[in-house]
Structures are given as structure tokens and as C-alpha cells.
């Protein structure tokens, strides 16, 4: 780079008009651009500017130097995969922290992957008998370390953390009494589904769920749906009216209670003029709870029904979905017994 004038000196540059060599009929603007660095620039500002710039350069260079070591390689994932293949049990799950860093899905070999923010506050943390947690605390702006700490309050760590490059693998279990005993969503095939009321009708078992007679929409099936931009696996159970859409489960090994979540899908959730939807929970014929979702209340709503007086052993559980008016009530729920 050539230097044409010392910084801080006024520019000797002629105006564009003179450089062009043409007469200028109009007054040129006050265009005396000072030379770079400007003699008028206060020194204090220049000092601050220099310090901030050098700090930014340092920060940026350190960032780029550190980045390769903060990103796992395929070998790191393969090592994790090897570990999981050796140690994972059927019924285990894997959680990714931060939740969006779900590359482990490519290496999970059929183990379900939980990818949800604030996992420690989410019922999914206790969905599996054992939860492998693959954390990346070294990623830029990663909140994995804080989430791991929070998770430690909800679950019991039984193994790890073990490092595979920047990947950190730990194994957690639910606290005593919180372990899942029955997954209603995954065990739908064991249920009897019917429409109750004065004229009860059984729904027909079809591949993957049950088809009821009121229309193509009137089915019960586990599906993935989006709530607050996050995936929830839940039972589509569009209510048909005041008469309940009834899911009856026999021989359910409940010990401590029943937990899960529900919500209305898509734009239906925003409708304020629509009807509420209720989810009635009956255990051994007795109503344990009626959970109500009011109209215009979008998102995923978790519930946890403790049943302290429940005798250990198998129970009959009925889940009833009803509404005064079924228009646009795209209801989906998920339940786990513990």
C-alpha cells in the first residue's frame, strides 16, 4: 500500500472539478476532506478506538484459533456411538445439549433422541428409564453446562461424564419413584378406543392406531406435532363433542401417578372463540382429574398427577377427551404412567 500523505495533515488534494480540468460553474461544496486519521479527531477517542479494535482483533483471532477444538469430528461421534452400542439398553433415550445440536441422531442407532430446550424443566427428561446426555459445553455460546447442572437436580447421574473430544457423555436415571412404568402413547395398540355417551361406538384398530366413525379426522394415532416450534410425540385425539373419545388401557402398572402433556395443533390453538377441550383421567373407574385446555391457549401444557394412595400393581386407566363443540379442536396429548 502506498502512502500519499501523512495522517493528520490536511489534504492537498484538488477538488474533483480541478482534477477533471473542467471549469466549474457552480460552487463546490465544502469538501475539504481531512486526511485519514483526521487532525480534528480527539486523541481520547483515538485511544479508545485503538484499544477496542485491538481487543476485537484479539477476541476474533482467539475465536478462530479455538473453534476447531470446540467442534466434534466424525471420529468423536463414532466413539460415542461405539460407547452407546456397548452400554445402552432398550428403552434408553439420548438427549442433546444444547438442544439444537442434534447431530447425534445420525449415530443413535434407533435410540430416541430428545432435543428440547430447558430439558430439566421438561417432562421428557423423565420419559426414559435411562437417559444418555450428550452435551457440548465447549460450543460457542453453549448453555450445555448450565443445563447439565439443572438436569442434575431433576435426574440422578449414574455414569460419566466421559469425554469424546468436545463431546461429553453422561448417563442419568429418574429419581426414585419417578421412573416411567407405562408409556400410553407408545402402547396405544394395547388400548380399546371408543366414542362414549348414550350410544357408544368402538373405533376400529387400524395400522398404527384406531379409526373412529365420525370422519377421516376422527382417529387416534401417535404422531409428531409442533408446539412452540418443538417436536412432541402425542396421540392425535380430536374430540367429537360432549360425548368422550375414550381410550381404555388395562393392566397399567401405575405406582406413583401419571404425567404428560397436551395441546392444540397449529392455528386451531389460537382460536379464542372455539370451545375448551377436557382430558378426563380415570383410574380404576374413579375420576382422578379433569384437565381443561381453554381456547386461545397455544403451546404444550404439561401435567403431573400424583396418585399417593394408589396401591402398587396393575390398574385400569381411562383417558376421555371431550369438548362442548368439536370445531377445529385439533387436540393431541401424551401420557406416561410412573
Amino acid at each position: 500500500m502506498s502512502k500519499q500523505g501523512a495522517a493528520g495533515e490536511p489534504s492537498p488534494r484538488p477538488s474533483p472539478a480541478r482534477a477533471e480540468g473542467e471549469p466549474d460553474e457552480r460552487p463546490a461544496p465544502p469538501d475539504a476532506a481531512p486526511a485519514a486519521g483526521g487532525a480534528t479527531r480527539p486523541q481520547a477517542f483515538a485511544g479508545i478506538e485503538a484499544v477496542v479494535l485491538l481487543a476485537a482483533v484479539l477476541f476474533a483471532l482467539v475465536y478462530w484459533l479455538r473453534l476447531p477444538g470446540r467442534l466434534p469430528t466424525e471420529q468423536d461421534y463414532l466413539a460415542v456411538q461405539h460407547e452407546l452400542l456397548a452400554k445402552a439398553h432398550p428403552g434408553d433415550g439420548i438427549a442433546a445439549l444444547p438442544f439444537w445440536a442434534d447431530r447425534i441422531k445420525l449415530f443413535s442407532h434407533g435410540l430416541p433422541v430428545v432435543a428440547l430446550p430447558q430439558l430439566a424443566d421438561d417432562g421428557e427428561a423423565e420419559r426414559y428409564a435411562r437417559l444418555w446426555v450428550l452435551a457440548q459445553p465447549d460450543l460457542p455460546r453453549s448453555e450445555a453446562a448450565a443445563e447439565l447442572e439443572a438436569l442434575g437436580h431433576r435426574l440422578a447421574r449414574v455414569e460419566g461424564p466421559e469425554r469424546f473430544g468436545p463431546l461429553s457423555l453422561s448417563l442419568y436415571e429418574p429419581q426414585p419413584g419417578r421412573a416411567p412404568a407405562y408409556d400410553f402413547t407408545e402402547r396405544l395398540a394395547d388400548a380399546q378406543v371408543s366414542i362414549g355417551g348414550d350410544d357408544p361406538v368402538d373405533c376400529e384398530a387400524v395400522q398404527g392406531g384406531f379409526q373412529c366413525p365420525r370422519g377421516p379426522w376422527n382417529y387416534v394415532r401417535p404422531e409428531w406435532h409442533e408446539f412452540d416450534f418443538l417436536p412432541r410425540r402425542c396421540l392425535w385425539a380430536h374430540p367429537v363433542g360432549p360425548e368422550p373419545l375414550r381410550l381404555h388401557f388395562s393392566q397399567v402398572p401405575l405406582r406413583g401417578g401419571l404425567r404428560g402433556g397436551f395441546g392444540l395443533i397449529g392455528e386451531a390453538a389460537e382460536l379464542r372463540q372455539a370451545a375448551p377441550v377436557s382430558l378426563g383421567v380415570f383410574v380404576d373407574g374413579a375420576e382422578t382429574a379433569e384437565l381443561t385446555l381453554e381456547p386461545g391457549d397455544p403451546g404444550w401444557h404439561e401435567f403431573d398427577l400424583g396418585l399417593p394412595g394408589l396401591a402398587a400393581g396393575a390398574h385400569e386407566v381411562e383417558l376421555d377427551v371431550a369438548t362442548p363443540n368439536p370445531g377445529m379442536r385439533h387436540f393431541c396429548f401424551d401420557a406416561v404412567g410412573y
Binding site: 457552480r26 469538501d31 477496542v52
Partner: protein, 553 residues
């Protein structure tokens, strides 16, 4: 060698370097949704221009210019003027079809690279002028601009964002020179016509010239002789811009000729009622106005390489500070011009009712001026450091070293992000990983799908039907024509809404991670009966493109 000749060499050198950089790296950049529309539009418009002589020699000139014929030729994509699209088409005809020098997509893109070269040359000229004739400042301005990965990415595309950035820079440079030269003043009108013929932004940016006049010229004239004196200072460039500009705009677009009011109204009306595409910003999905006031500045702070951003900020702050100074401290005319042109595009998009989709491309036309201010700031810091160390004679060496330090992280960023420049986030954001945690939009134009095409080519079964999600059919055709996608792979996409009917026909799905489309990924899981991907493309561990395969497919 005369100074003028030296400048010419610098301009040509920088333009050529920029063009070559685009040629060398363009293959890595997939085709954006809009490019696919413009490729098609280019092919639609070009035959009309090429047919003029033929019509003349065969006595069909009137028919050629008839409304029916113009509608046939220009019916498509009437929401944008045609200058760049016609250049894309002519270039494709010449360099791809005629000479066979460029692959099909590159043929369309070449005019955008030429404009990118123009941007470099103009940045050099403006940067040098602003720094009191220092060539190094001009070169630095160009480097600072192009090492912003988003700029570099947009410089490749057969779209209008870099072209309007270049055309407006041409207007501003000609406008500045026009104060001292009638030829440049006239040319400012021509340049404004070209800008109007490039993109809608050109209707708004003269406000920056008005602000410049009001700040730099009008006050002295007012003190001197009130209205009479004020009238005499009105820049003659305005007259040329107000006459030549609209004339060139009107003449370049034959479609307007038969029904100018109706069709210009329709063009402007489209943009006045433009939809607000959803846009992720700090864990919000911006759908409807009012949009956050700070959006433009936050996104700029999180995407411009940090040292360059600091220089832009300090350069701009210094100019802003001098805006209210007096005497020697008062901002000079050229810097006022730079400041107003630098800030106006950012402020325009900051307006809460203006659609906020598209990321920085919509305020990119302001960045050249901020880079000029940044280059000057860099020169100033080097001078300060040399003086502070009591070695002013070392200023040049300090500047060279400091420039290398400032540009190195940006260069590393460009290399790291490769062909996915629209997804770049800076060191402050924490790259793409940080952007994911911050809840920012990480892609929007579907071109990142280029990251999984190789996998599809090697793993898709023969005649596979692939749901390409946000990729347009035009982009799919372009990928096939350019040999980036196996010709037997078939296309389907379901767009928004219920994707299930379309997914039933697909055996593979290439989902593009965007907050607004999260439900579509889950519909793929439902349709395929699995949520386990078979392949994915990540940027710093953040999911970018995910491929699902129907079991057994």
C-alpha cells in the same frame, strides 16, 4: 505514470481480482430461490431483445413492439425491473450457449460478478478520496467490504442486491464528482437510471443526497442569501437524476410502454403490499409489524466480522460526532455524503413496518460507505499507534500489520463458511452455533441444499423422488443442468401448509432448517414413519439440511 493512470490501474486491478474471486468460488454456492426465478425470467426476456433486428429486417417491427408481444415476452416477474435479468440472459447466451466458456448458472451470474468488480473499483475511488488521496485507504475499503462473508456471498448471485449496491455507489460517486464536472453531473442521471432499472431501493436512496445537501450546502447558502441563495445551490445532478433517471427506467423496460401508469403502479404496488415472510430473531419469529427497531443493527453487529464491525462503528461514530461539530470539527461534505448514504439503508429497513426478511441484503447498499469510514478509521488507528509509540515514521508498517490483523479473522470466516455465506455469523455471535443458541435465522434462500447434493447423487436410488422442501423447481432444473444433481432424481416439493400429500410420493426429503418450517420436519417424520435422518449437513454443529429416507426406499 500519472496519478490518473495509476488510479485506473488500481481500479482495473481490483475489479479484475474481484471478478476472478467470484469465478473461482461461485461453484460452491447453490442456487437461491430468487435466482431460479431470474434465470427463467432472463430466458423469457432475452429473445425479445435479440429479435429486434430480425423484426426490423422482416418488417415486423410494429408487431414486435405491440402490447401483446411485449406481454408475451415480459409477463414473468413484473415485480422487478429488467436490466439485470436481461444482462443475465445475454451473458448466458454469449458465455454459455455461444462460447461455452461458463457453465449454465455461471453464464447467468457473470454480470453480477462484473458489478461486483465495479463495486471494488468504486470503493477504491471513494475510499481514496475520503482519505485525502491515500490509495491504501481505497484498497482497504474494498477489502473490508468483500471480506464480510455476506457481501462476498451476495456478490456471486444472479440477483439484484449486489447490483443495486454497485449501481447506487455509482450514483453517489458520480453525484460527488458532479459538483465539479458537468459530465459527471450528467452521468449521475444516467447512473440513477441504471439504479432505478436495477431495483426498487433506488427510489428511496436520493433521500441521502437530499440530507447531504441540507447538511453540507444549504446552511451556508441560507445564511448568505436565504431562499434565493438556497436555490442557486441546488445540485445540478438532481436535474439530471430527475430527468434521465426516470427516462432510462422507462425506456429499459418495454413492458411498461403500452400502459405506463398501470404497470408502474402495479410494480410499485407489489412492493407496497409485500408479504412479511417470517423471520427468526432472538427467539422470536417476526411475522407482522411492528418489527424491533434494533433488528438491523443487531444483525449487523452479529454478522460483520468483529474487527470490521468495530471499525465501521467507530468510523461512523466519529462521523456522527463531527456532524454536530463546528468549524474545523464540522463534518466535511464528502464524509457527510458517506455517512448519510451509509446509514439511510439501515434506517429504512429499521422502520418497524418495513418487512424484515432477507437478512442484511436489504441494507447492504449502505455498507460500502460504512466500509470507507471503517478504512479511514483503520488508517487513523495505525497513525495513532505509530505516534503513541513515538515512531510516526513507522505508520505505514503499523498500518500494514494492523490491516493484516483486522482482515485475517474475516478471511478465516470467509473460508470457514465457504459457499454458505448467507448463514455466516461472526465471532461476537459465536458463529452458526452461537446463532442457533441465540435463536437467529440461519438460512432462508434454500441454496444451502448444495451441501447434500453429493450425498443424494451417491445414495438416492434410481429415479428417486425427493422432496426438496424450499428448493424451487427452477433451482432443481439448474442443479441438473449444471451437473450438480443426478438427472434421474425427480423433484417434488410441497411448500407450506399440509405437506402430507406430497410426502406420500417422496422417498427422500431434504429438509431445510428454518424456524417457520419446524412443523414440516415433523410431517416428514409422520409421513416416513421415522425421525432418524440418514444424512445431514451441519454448520458448526447447527443443523442446516437434514435428509430423511422412507424406510425400505
Amino acid at each position: 505514470m500519472s496519478e490518473r493512470r495509476k488510479d485506473l490501474l488500481y481500479c482495473l486491478g481490483l475489479a479484475a481480482l474481484t471478478f476472478v474471486a467470484m469465478v473461482a468460488t461461485e461453484r460452491a454456492i447453490g442456487f437461491t430461490r430468487d435466482e431460479s426465478f431470474y434465470f427463467f425470467a432472463a430466458d423469457q426476456y432475452t429473445p425479445w431483445y435479440l429479435g429486434i433486428l430480425d423484426a426490423l429486417f422482416h418488417g415486423r417491427l410494429l408487431e414486435h413492439f405491440s402490447d401483446a408481444n411485449l406481454q408475451r415476452a415480459f409477463w414473468y416477474n413484473t415485480e422487478h425491473p429488467v436490466l439485470m435479468k436481461v444482462l443475465f440472459g445475454l451473458s448466458h447466451r454469449l458465455f454459455t450457449v455461444g462460447l461455452g466458456w461458463l457453465r449454465p448458472a455461471a453464464g447467468y451470474r457473470a454480470p453480477a460478478w462484473a458489478v461486483s468488480g465495479l463495486v471494488s473499483a468504486l470503493l477504491y475511488l471513494v475510499g481514496k478520496e475520503a482519505a485525502g488521496g491515500r490509495r491504501d485507504a481505497g484498497v482497504l475499503a474494498a477489502l473490508l467490504f468483500w471480506l464480510y462473508p455476506h457481501d462476498f456471498y451476495h456478490g456471486h448471485l444472479a440477483c439484484f442486491d449486489m447490483p443495486i449496491t454497485g449501481m447506487w455507489l455509482l450514483v453517489v460517486y458520480a453525484y460527488w464528482r458532479g459538483f465539479g464536472s458537468r459530465r459527471w453531473a450528467i452521468f449521475s442521471g444516467v447512473a440513477y437510471g441504471l439504479a432505478l432499472a436495477t431495483k426498487l431501493n433506488a427510489f428511496f436512496y436520493p433521500a441521502a443526497l437530499l440530507a447531504h445537501w441540507a447538511f453540507s450546502i444549504a446552511p451556508a447558502a441560507w445564511r448568505e442569501g436565504r431562499w434565493k441563495a438556497l436555490g442557486r445551490t441546488l445540485p445540478r445532478q438532481w436535474a439530471y437524476m430527475a430527468t434521465l433517471g426516470p427516462a432510462i427506467f422507462f425506456l429499459h423496460w418495454p413492458y411498461l410502454w403500452p400502459h405506463p401508469i398501470e404497470r408502474i403502479g402495479s410494480y410499485l404496488g407489489f412492493h407496497a403490499n409485500h408479504v412479511n415472510y417470517p423471520w427468526a430473531y432472538l427467539h422470536q419469529l417476526l411475522r407482522e409489524p411492528p418489527f424491533p427497531l434494533a433488528y438491523v443493527f443487531v444483525v449487523t453487529a452479529l454478522t460483520v466480522p468483529l474487527p470490521i464491525f468495530v471499525l465501521m462503528a467507530t468510523g461512523t461514530l466519529r462521523a456522527l460526532g463531527r456532524l454536530f461539530g463546528r468549524g474545523e470539527r464540522r463534518l466535511d461534505s464528502l464524509h457527510a455524503l458517506l455517512l448519510f448514504n451509509g446509514l439511510l439503508p439501515l434506517l429504512l429497513i429499521s422502520w418497524p413496518t418495513v418487512p424484515h426478511f432477507g437478512g442484511m441484503k436489504h441494507w447492504m447498499p449502505g455498507l460500502p460507505y460504512l466500509c470507507v469510514l471503517a478504512a479511514e478509521a483503520l488508517v487513523g488507528v495505525a497513525a495513532f499507534l505509530a505516534r503513541w509509540r513515538r515512531h510516526p515514521e513507522l505508520e505505514q508498517r503499523v498500518l500494514t500489520a494492523l490491516s493484516a490483523l483486522v482482515l485475517l479473522p474475516a478471511l478465516l470466516g470467509c473460508i470457514h463458511i465457504g459457499g454458505y455465506g448467507e448463514s455466516f455469523y461472526n465471532e461476537l455471535a459465536g458463529g452458526e452455533a452461537g446463532a442457533a443458541t441465540l435463536g437467529m435465522q440461519r438460512q432462508f434462500w434454500s441454496n444451502n441444499v448444495s451441501g447434500v447434493l453429493d450425498w443424494l447423487n451417491h445414495n438416492a436410488p434410481p429415479n428417486a423422488v425427493v422432496d426438496f422442501h424450499e428448493v424451487t423447481q427452477g433451482s432443481y432444473v439448474a442443479y441438473r443442468e449444471d451437473g450438480m444433481l443426478r438427472p434421474d432424481i425427480r423433484f417434488t416439493t410441497c411448500g407450506g401448509g399440509d405437506t402430507m400429500p406430497c410426502l406420500r410420493s417422496a422417498g427422500l426429503a431434504a429438509y431445510q432448517y428454518m424456524q417457520e418450517f419446524r412443523d414440516q420436519e415433523y410431517q416428514i417424520w409422520n409421513a416416513f414413519g421415522t425421525n432418524e435422518p440418514v444424512h445431514a449437513h451441519f454448520l458448526d454443529e447447527a443443523p442446516d439440511i437434514t435428509i430423511y429416507r422412507r424406510p425400505g426406499y
